[in-house]
Symmetry: C2
Subunit: 123 residues, 2 copies
DNA sequence: CTCAAATCAGTAATTGTTCCTGTTTTTATT
DNA sequence: AATAAAAACAGGAACAATTACTGATTTGAG
């Protein structure tokens, strides 16, 4: 079944995704690998990233400037997003104290994202 | 300058956006209005929603199934997102206790989003 | 080794969103 | 109210991120 086989491309894509803290887009991953692996297809990158997300090995952090930005680090942490340049940084996850009910939802993941302006963009 | 004039279409779009708690997409807003206002253009909906976001009168909640979902309620609250059907519900904002530094970012908005499965999708 | 399932490259198709052009509406000024 | 400039608009073309398709290649089980 889907995702059950070994695949050298899949390993490449996953290790590239995990090699950076820049929270890249699929296209960025593709461009990093294209140099050394000119036979890599962008569709393969998208397909494998979708698999990673299904399997909980990656998460979508935000959609910045029309691009979905990814994180191969699925440990609990929050994100800082610069609305100006699109830079995304990791920060400690705050402790969350819930109030109110959760409307019957069965939740398995919480995203905490701070939006603002980074040092460079503030001049 | 941009956004300074009165515009009946703008009012329609804004009131439609605020009339629902479904956190709709731009297309949904367009389709609601199209019946009674067949001369409305989808581009106008997108353009005005961009204005609302600039002016802090609306926020983008999440990008679900490739569609940006919006909220005309900018008060502090968190969101529940069903990964299965895309339904979004409001929940109380948890109290956040920050630890660690914020890397020099000047933040002005925090999004807290819980991902999971809604009652209907859980069967 | 052999075969079926999985994966892939390459490209076409899809689709949410933005951009462009000529027209209409709004506002300010007489 | 008439006029003119700015703002907003409709309609459709253009764009870009993502997905789907097709035929070839790779992988894993027996």
């Amino acid at each position: 079944m889907k995702g059950s086989n070994y695949s050298s491309k899949r390993e490449l894509i996953y290790s590239t995704l995990c090699s950076t803290k820049s929270h890249p887009s699929a296209k960025w991953v593709y461009e990093q690998l294209k140099e050394d692996h000119p036979d890599l297809s962008l569709g393969t990158v998208y397909r494998n990233i979708a698999l990673f997300k299904e399997n909980g090995k990656a998460v979508a952090v935000a959609n910045i400037l029309g691009e979905e930005r990814l994180d191969g680090d699925t440990s609990a942490h929050a994100h800082l997003v610069c609305k100006c340049c699109g830079k995304i940084e990791d920060v400690d996850m705050p402790s969350l104290t819930l109030k109110g009910d959760t409307k019957g939802f069965n939740t398995d993941f919480v995203a905490v994202t701070y939006f603002g302006t980074c040092t460079e963009c503030s001049e």
